[in-house]
C-alpha cells in the first residue's frame, strides 16, 4: 500500500497524486504518441475507434456515473454531432470550427432534452431519453434535404485552409488531442465545486438541495456537457466512418454506449477507457472465437448481441464496479499480499433508505 503524507492543500488538489502515477501516465502518453509508428494500420484504426468511443463515453459517464441520470438515447447526441460535422465539413468549413459547432449544437439539444427530463427520475428518465433517441433517428431519416435520409451521407476528410487530414496518422492525432482535452476537462470538473455538485445530486438530491445546489441548473449542465462530448465524439466518428446513415444512431448504438460505461465501471474515468477498449475489442474476440464453435452457433447472426447481453448481466451481477473495480481489487491484492481479505471492497448496507433509487 502506498501512503501519501500530505503537507499542503495543493497535494490534495492536483491531478497527478504521486510520482508513480506520473511515471505510468507519462509512459502511456509516450506510447500513444509513438503509436502510429509502432502499430499496424489495422490496429491504429481500432485505436482511433477506442479514442472516439472514449470521448462519447466520458460524456455518458459524467451523466450516468457522476450525476446519476441514465440516458438510453445517447446515440441521438452522437448522431447530431456526426451530421453537424458532416454537413459543415462538406460545406467547406475548417474542421476545428465544425467540431466546435458539432459539440455546441449537441449540447444545445442536450439542454432541450434535459429541461423536461428534470421532472422525471430513474426508469422514467430512461424511457424519456429512449423516446428522444427514436425521435432523432427518425428525424435524421426524414430530413432528406440535409441528411440525405436513408440513402446516407458521404463525409469529406477534415480540412483547414488547404491542409487536409487525409492520412490515418493525422486523424489519429486529431482524435488523441480531443480525447486528452476532454479527459482533462472532466478531471478538472470532478475536482471542482461543479463536479462535486453532480456527485451530490447522484447520491442524495434532497440533501444536495439543502446544501444550496440548484438541482435543475446542475442537471441541465450535466446533460449539456454530456451531450456536447457525445457530439464531439460523433463528429470524429463521422470522419472515421466517412459515410453516415440514420441506423448507425439507433437504440443498439445507445445500448452499446451504456454497456461501455457499465462494463468499464460507473463512477470512474478509467472505466470509460476500459469500457471503450472492451467495446472495440469484443467483436474481434467474438469473430476469432467463431471458428472454434459449431456452425449452428458460430455462424448465427445474433451471436454478438447474445454475448454482449451475457457480459452485461454478468457484470451487473458479479462486478458492479466494472472492469476498473476488478483492476482495483487485483492491484490491492498484489499490494497487500498476503493480507487481502475477500470482503474488503464490499460496501456496507445503507442503514436507512429514503426515496432514492439505488
Amino acid at each position: 500500500m502506498r501512503f501519501i503524507f500530505k503537507t499542503d492543500y495543493d497535494q490534495d488538489i492536483r491531478i497527478v497524486k504521486h510520482d508513480g502515477q506520473a511515471f505510468w501516465y507519462g509512459l502511456l502518453g509516450l506510447s500513444l504518441l509513438a503509436a502510429p509508428w509502432l502499430l499496424s494500420e489495422y490496429m491504429l484504426a481500432q485505436l482511433v475507434f477506442v479514442l472516439i468511443y472514449a470521448t462519447v463515453g466520458l460524456g455518458l459517464m459524467l451523466l450516468a456515473g457522476f450525476t446519476g441520470q441514465f440516458s438510453i438515447g445517447h446515440a441521438a447526441f452522437l448522431g447530431v454531432g456526426a451530421y453537424t460535422q458532416a454537413v459543415l465539413t462538406n460545406a467547406g468549413w475548417p474542421f476545428p470550427l465544425a467540431l466546435a459547432c458539432a459539440g455546441t449544437l449537441s449540447a444545445i439539444v442536450g439542454i432541450v432534452i434535459g429541461v423536461p427530463a428534470l421532472r422525471v427520475k430513474g426508469i422514467y428518465l430512461g424511457i424519456a431519453t429512449l423516446a428522444f433517441g427514436f425521435i432523432v433517428e427518425e428525424g435524421l431519416a426524414r430530413w432528406e434535404s440535409v441528411t440525405g435520409g436513408n440513402a446516407g451521407l458521404h463525409v469529406k476528410s477534415p480540412a483547414m485552409f488547404g491542409w487536409t487530414l487525409d492520412s490515418n496518422t493525422e486523424f489519429y492525432f486529431l482524435c488523441l488531442v480531443v480525447v486528452v482535452l476532454s479527459t482533462l476537462a472532466i478531471l478538472n470538473l470532478l475536482r471542482s465545486p461543479t463536479g462535486r455538485a453532480f456527485v451530490a445530486i447522484r447520491d442524495s438530491e434532497i440533501s444536495a438541495q439543502s446544501m444550496g445546489i440548484h438541482l435543475a441548473r446542475y442537471k441541465t449542465m450535466s446533460f449539456a456537457l454530456s451531450a456536447g462530448l457525445a457530439g464531439l465524439g460523433g463528429a470524429l466518428y463521422a470522419h472515421k466512418i466517412k459515410f453516415l446513415s440514420p441506423e448507425q444512431f439507433n437504440i443498439v448504438q445507445s445500448i452499446d454506449l451504456l454497456l461501455m460505461v457499465v462494463v468499464g465501471g460507473l463512477g470512474s474515468v478509467h472505466g470509460v477507457f476500459l469500457g471503450a477498449i472492451f467495446l472495440i475489442t469484443m467483436p474481434q474476440l467474438i469473430a476469432m472465437g467463431k471458428d472454434y464453435l459449431p456452425d449452428s452457433v458460430g455462424q448465427s447472426p445474433g451471436l454478438q448481441a447474445v454475448v454482449y447481453g451475457v457480459v452485461l448481466v454478468a457484470f451487473v451481477m458479479f462486478e458492479p464496479h466494472g472492469l476498473y473495480g476488478r483492476w482495483l481489487k487485483m492491484r490491492t491484492y498484489l499490494q497487500m499480499f498476503p493480507f487481502y481479505r475477500a470482503g474488503m471492497f464490499k460496501r456496507q448496507k445503507a442503514f436507512q433508505k429514503s426515496d432514492r433509487l439505488k
Binding site: I13, R191, S192, T194, V199, M211, R347, S354
Partner: protein, 266 residues
C-alpha cells in the same frame, strides 16, 4: 440587527385532509438553542421541512432576519445561512468524508463552470479556501481519522457527526438538527451534547433542533417548544415544559385514560 433570527407565525400545512401542522407560531432568538419536542407524528420534522423549504406552507409565514423565507426557492435557503441535518442521515454515500464536507461549502462557491473546467487560479484558490474551512470543522469535531474514508463504510455514529460537520461547513447562522441523538449510544449522545454547546458558545451559531432524548434536551436547550398532533402544547424553559400537564398527558396519556383502562381490565 435586533429581533428574532427566525420567526414563524400561524404556520399551517395540510396534506390532503391531514393537518400536519396547525397554526404554529414561535420565535427563535439569536444565539439560543431552541428545541422542538413531541410524540411521533407531532409535526416536528414537518416544521423543519417547512423552514428548509422542502414543503410549502398552506398558510402562515416564516420570517428569517426580517425577510420572507417562504418566497425563497429551496436551494437558496443555504445561502441565507440556514444549514440542516436529516433524521435518516442523507450523506453523499459514495464520496469521501472530505468531499462531503467540501460539498457543504458549496453555497460559498464563486467560480463559474468555465473556470472549473479549465481549473483556473481562481478555482484553485477557492478549493484551498474550502479545504481550509473543512479542516477547521474536522478539527472541531475530531474527524481526522475518517477524512479520506468513503461514507458508505462508516459506522452510524460517525455518519451522524459527518452530517453535522457538513452542515457546519456551510458556515450557517442557523443550524437545524433533526434528531441529532437518534441511533447514538449514551457516550456518543454525550459527545453530541458537548458539540451542540460548543457550536452555540464558541461558534455563535443559533441551533434549532428536534429531539426525543430528554436528558440531552434539558442539558443543552435554552427554550423548548412541545408539540402534539400539529399544535403547540407548551413553550418555555426545559423544566417548565417537562412539568407542563399537557405535555405529560401527550406523552403518557391522562389519568382519566389510565383509570378507564384499569376499569376495563378489572
Amino acid at each position: 440587527m435586533s429581533g428574532p433570527l427566525l420567526s414563524a407565525s400561524d404556520l399551517t400545512v395540510r396534506f390532503g385532509g391531514l393537518v400536519a401542522v396547525n397554526k404554529v407560531s414561535f420565535d427563535v432568538q439569536r444565539g439560543e438553542v431552541f428545541t422542538i419536542i413531541g410524540p411521533n407524528g407531532a409535526g416536528k420534522t414537518t416544521v423543519f421541512n417547512l423552514i428548509s423549504r422542502i414543503y410549502q406552507p398552506t398558510a402562515g409565514n416564516i420570517r428569517y432576519e426580517g425577510e420572507d423565507l417562504v418566497a425563497q426557492p429551496p436551494h437558496a435557503v443555504a445561502a441565507l445561512g440556514i444549514a440542516r441535518t436529516f433524521q435518516n442521515i442523507e450523506l453523499f454515500e459514495f464520496a469521501s468524508v472530505l468531499q462531503n464536507l467540501l460539498i457543504g461549502t458549496h453555497t460559498h462557491r464563486r467560480t463559474s463552470l468555465w473556470q472549473d473546467i479549465l481549473f483556473t487560479g481562481a478555482t484553485r484558490r477557492a478549493e484551498i479556501h474550502a479545504r481550509r474551512k473543512a479542516e477547521e470543522v474536522i478539527d472541531f469535531l475530531s474527524l481526522q481519522r475518517y477524512r479520506d474514508m468513503m461514507v458508505a463504510g462508516l459506522p452510524y455514529g460517525v455518519r451522524k457527526v459527518v452530517e453535522l460537520a457538513r452542515a457546519l461547513c456551510a458556515e450557517p447562522k442557523l443550524l437545524l438538527l433533526d434528531e441529532p441523538s437518534s441511533g447514538l449510544n449514551v457516550e456518543e449522545t454525550d459527545d453530541m451534547a458537548w458539540w451542540i454547546q460548543d457550536i452555540q458558545r464558541d461558534l455563535g451559531i443559533t441551533v434549532l433542533m428536534v429531539e426525543h432524548d430528554m436528558s440531552l434536551v434539558s442539558k443543552v436547550s435554552d427554550r423548548v417548544l412541545a408539540m402534539n398532533q400539529g399544535e403547540v402544547l407548551a413553550l418555555g424553559t426545559p423544566e417548565e415544559v417537562q412539568s407542563h400537564a399537557g405535555v405529560i398527558e401527550a406523552y403518557l396519556g391522562s389519568t382519566d385514560d389510565l383509570s378507564s383502562l384499569r376499569r376495563s381490565a378489572a
